[in-house]
């Protein structure tokens, strides 16, 4: 079918003003669509899916576009379903500390609104002004504060999901504790939009902490064993860090610090507790480690800057840019960061890497010539796998994604993923090939 016919047909299911041709001239990330449809209601989302499902059309789902380079090997599908028109807060019950919001709402907009009530969603994704809540949940994005507050699976209490057949499924609910039926929320978190379009998200909120500070500990000798011994000691204490993130020298420099391995340790609590914990770090830190304590707004500014480190993927520069997420057993994060340093030399790349020593997740950003990026990613994956972990690619141009597997090897239980996909989206209309093993 030619594009104009598809457009005509779509007009029969959603208002004409929701549909437009995709004018994008060049897009190096793929995951595009010939026609852009931006529904304004859940019913419209449902109609588009129903139409596509019945007519063998494929859909790529988008909202803020920050994850364009994340997963997928196809340049374009028939329809680019954009949730950017489906925005706004549906319900905020201040006393219950729960919030229901439409999926296309920008994450920052929600946080700004909640700040007026001294509340927040305790997730810290990258590029929050562009990223939408739906995208953050669908891609299971998280930041260093996951150590203190958990990730999307700990925060989401309810979803509305439009299934490929157009029906709307509610999972979870609006209460913070719920074991009625299967915990279907979990199925959609991190599902990369492959089994349904999340239309509404209900989250539990937290109070904005009364006080916060950030302790930056710089290790001039670059001795990772020394860092490890400090971290083990610190983690065995009763302190309650919100982040315990190791920054490689390049990231530390980019954030205005010395070009040295640096630990970023956040505390968020009542003021007396925060200061008490800062003092504790000062007491147990190795003598040669430099320490600075950044208080209140300065701490949040640091993190704001931090959340804008990753390549965003909308304006390709000269270098190939990539982000790899590595998951390993907590303390093995140090080995990954060290490996990243070695790869930087071996492949002549600029590599910015950080990782959470209390949760085991690293982000490695690579910048350089395409073949070097490719080689380094492959080597990093082999290394992570040898540690019992994994490496998945969160951001990479399409041509390279077609060469290097985004998700790595299929696990032995892949048949369950396949079974779930087949049950919910038998015609493979949603984000085809975007997820692990070609799901």
């Amino acid at each position: 079918m030619i594009t104009s016919d598809l457009k005509e047909e779509l007009r029969t299911v959603v208002p004409i003003e929701r549909i437009k041709d995709n004018q994008e001239i060049e897009n190096s990330f793929g995951n595009s669509g010939k026609i852009i449809v931006a529904p304004a209601t859940e019913e419209e989302i449902s109609e588009v899916l129903k139409y596509a499902n019945a007519h063998g059309k494929k859909i790529s789902v988008i909202a803020g576009g920050t994850k364009r380079g994340f997963g997928g090997v196809n340049e374009t599908e028939d329809i680019l379903l954009s949730l950017s028109n489906y925005t706004g807060i549906v319900e905020h019950t201040v006393g219950d500390m729960t919030l229901t919001v439409k999926a296309g709402t920008s994450f920052k907009e929600i946080q700004d609104y909640l700040a007026g009530y001294n509340q927040k969603i305790s997730l810290d994704p990258s590029w929050s002004e562009a990223a939408t809540i739906g995208g953050v949940i669908a891609a299971n994005d998280s930041g260093p504060k996951r150590l203190g507050y958990g990730s999307a699976r700990d925060v989401v209490i309810g979803l509305r999901v439009v299934y490929p057949d157009g029906t709307v499924i509610r999972s979870g609910g609006k209460v913070v504790k719920n074991v009625a039926g299967y915990d279907m929320n979990k199925l959609f978190i991190g599902s990369m939009g492959t089994i349904g379009v999340i239309s509404e998200v209900t989250v539990k909120l937290r109070p904005v902490p009364k006080y916060e500070s950030l302790v930056l500990l710089t290790f001039p000798d670059g001795d990772l064993l020394e860092i490890k011994s400090f971290v083990v000691n610190f983690l065995d204490s009763v302190m309650e860090p919100i982040t315990l993130e190791i920054l490689n020298p390049s990231i530390a420099e980019k954030l205005g610090r010395q070009k040295r391995y640096t630990l970023a340790i956040s505390f968020e609590d009542v003021e007396s507790s925060v200061h008490y914990q800062e003092e504790f770090v000062k007491r147990i830190k190795p003598a040669n480690a430099d320490i600075i304590v950044v208080e209140k707004d300065n701490a949040s500014e640091f993190w704001e800057k931090f959340y804008h480190l990753s390549p965003r993927g909308t304006e390709p520069g000269h270098d190939t840019e990539a982000t790899v997420k590595v998951g390993v057993v907590n303390l093995d994060v140090l080995k990954i960061i060290q490996k990243a340093e070695q790869l930087s030399d071996a492949y002549n790349l600029r590599i910015e890497a950080h990782g959470g020593l209390g949760h085991g997740l690293c982000q490695v950003h690579l910048y350089g010539a395409s073949e070097d990026v490719e080689g380094a990613i492959k080597e990093l994956r082999i290394y992570a796998t040898s540690l019992g972990g994994y490496a998945t690619i969160k951001h990479l141009p399409l041509v390279l994604r077609q060469k290097i597997s985004v998700w790595g090897e299929r696990p032995s239980y892949f048949f369950l993923f396949e079974g779930i996909k087949k049950k919910i989206d038998p015609n493979k209309i949603l984000n085809p090939n975007r997820f692990i093993g070609g799901i």
Partner: protein
């Protein structure tokens, strides 16, 4: 256990005994009676037999045998479940996991431990307490319940307000699938492994998707300090309002429990009385933990809130011993109802916190209409109510009346935007009440998932979901709708 030599000609029992050994199978009627129900005692059914495997491989062999021979089967831990999830409705082969109770490994540096499913919840905390660590989920039955059962039910507890329920602490699982295949998901505890979140799906699936044979859990460092407050209120409304005020003041208490007048009467008549006044309408048990330097400020704030809400008396536990007594009184609250009533039925609804006064008033109304006393012991901080319907099973018709009253309480929870179970699970008990919160299409979406894992539905069939009739119809309707679209 069986004496030497099997005294049966049943080929399935003989074959299962070959897998686990003759001493690890029960099949005689008198032995099976103990397995005809779990903590939900209203519904009973005898199993075909009970086998006691000692390893993952034995579990897999048993499951393969059942699968090949069309024998229904289910897994059972300590049998403390309150919704009937381990009741052999279809005369199942019960796979008891009590022999698989080893603590396999503890890795304090990476804050993880690996246990077998039969390992008792509290034992984990006890095993690591000397190093200053603990396992957070603390259901009231933690002295007996197993971590395998906790995973199946996604168990909660008093302290999950701050620390989350079981699912928030599960890092990895080894699972025997309903066809006997052994699957390992993030057993080394690595987070966010690529793919759909099977850990999340399996946790709370009430033993219908697979049998968990190894569990990797997160362990936490004990908080530096904790303080516990007890507050007595003359009016329930003041107590509920205090709950809301505490939460909205920005404090995240470790626990925030409430008991009403009837509940207080029960716990004071039972084994762990603490001398609560009998004429108050509600008490709150509030615990704050964390860095010692910050605790006092939060406690002061809590005391202020209580005073503002007309508290009659409020006190901070003066010693660990006193705190322990307060908690023992609370944690044995359900059983304590036995002191004031021959029988009781525990319910488990969840409501948005702000609806507490309204819902308590409506539960009171249900109590009046049914003529049955209903006491309330609950996790007020997260809106998880436990109405306890007191009744006497010896009086004809009263059991049914109690079940109806319990169901009516759940309807109230659903009506105000809540749900029918917060931590006890659906099991047999609340199958029909699933319709209070889910449409048939939504239930179908869930049974579709079950079909992926458990296509023959031999594993723990008949649990969790309402009778299938209507679901099948929906499926048909959907198919037809798709054809015509």
């Amino acid at each position: 256990m069986a004496k030497k030599g099997l005294q049966t000609s049943d080929k399935d029992i003989i074959n299962l005994a070959k897998i686990v050994g003759e001493k690890a199978i029960l099949y005689k009627q008198p032995d099976l009676v103990a397995y005809d129900c779990d903590g939900f005692t209203i519904h009973k059914h005898l199993p075909k037999c009970v086998v006691f495997p000692n390893s993952t491989e034995e579990v897999a062999e048993i499951v393969k045998y059942c699968d090949a021979n069309q024998l229904p089967f289910l897994a059972r831990g300590a049998g403390t479940g309150l919704s009937g999830g381990a009741i052999p409705l279809n005369g199942e082969v019960i796979i008891s996991l009590v022999k698989m109770k080893r603590l396999i490994s503890v890795d304090l540096e990476n804050r993880r431990a690996v246990v077998e499913p039969g390992f008792v919840n509290l034992k984990l905390t006890n095993s690591i307490a000397n190093k200053g660590y603990y396992y957070a989920p603390d259901p009231s039955s933690q002295y007996a319940c197993t971590i395998g059962g906790n995973v199946a039910e996604n168990a909660g507890g008093a302290h999950c307000l701050k620390y989350g329920v079981t699912t928030n602490h599960i890092l990895g699982l080894e699972v025997v699938m309903p066809n006997g295949e052994i699957v390992e998901i993030s057993t080394n505890g690595v987070a966010d492994t690529p793919g759909y979140d099977l850990l999340g799906l399996l946790t709370g699936s009430e033993g219908t998707l697979g049998i968990v044979t190894k569990i990797t859990v997160r362990i936490l460092k004990n908080p530096e300090a904790k303080q516990t407050v007890l507050a007595y209120f003359d009016k329930v409304a003041d107590g509920s309002q205090a709950v809301s005020d505490i939460i909205s003041s920005g404090i995240v208490p470790a626990a925030l429990e409430m008991m009403d007048k009837t509940a207080i009467e029960g716990v004071e008549a039972a084994a762990f009385p603490v001398g609560h006044p009998k004429d108050i309408e509600a008490l709150l048990l509030i615990e704050v933990d964390g860095i010692s330097a910050g605790i006092e400020e939060q406690i002061n704030q809590i005391l202020e809130v209580c005073k503002k809400r007309n508290v009659r008396e409020v006190k901070v536990a003066g010693s660990e011993e006193e705190r322990g007594r307060w908690w023992a009184n609370r944690k044995t609250g359900f059983g304590a109802m036995g002191a004031i009533s021959p029988d009781y039925l525990v319910q488990d609804g969840v409501i948005p916190r702000s609806k507490l006064p309204e819902v308590l008033a409506r539960i009171n109304q249900i109590s009046e209409e049914s003529g049955l006393r209903i006491s309330n012991i609950f996790h007020a901080g997260d809106g998880n109510l436990h109405p306890l319907v007191l009744f006497d099973a010896r009086i004809p018709g009263e059991t049914e009346k109690a079940l109806e009253a319990g169901s009516a309480c759940l309807q109230v929870c659903a009506d105000v935007g809540g749900t029918i179970t917060g931590e006890h699970g659906v099991g047999i008990e609340k199958r029909e009440e699933m319709r209070f919160v889910f449409t048939d299409r939504e239930i179908l979406a869930q049974t579709d998932i079950r079909e992926v894992f458990n296509p023959k539905n031999l594993l723990n069939a008949g649990k969790l979901f309402p009778s299938p009739g209507r679901c099948a119809e929906v499926k048909k309707e959907l198919k037809e709708a798709l054809k015509t679209s």
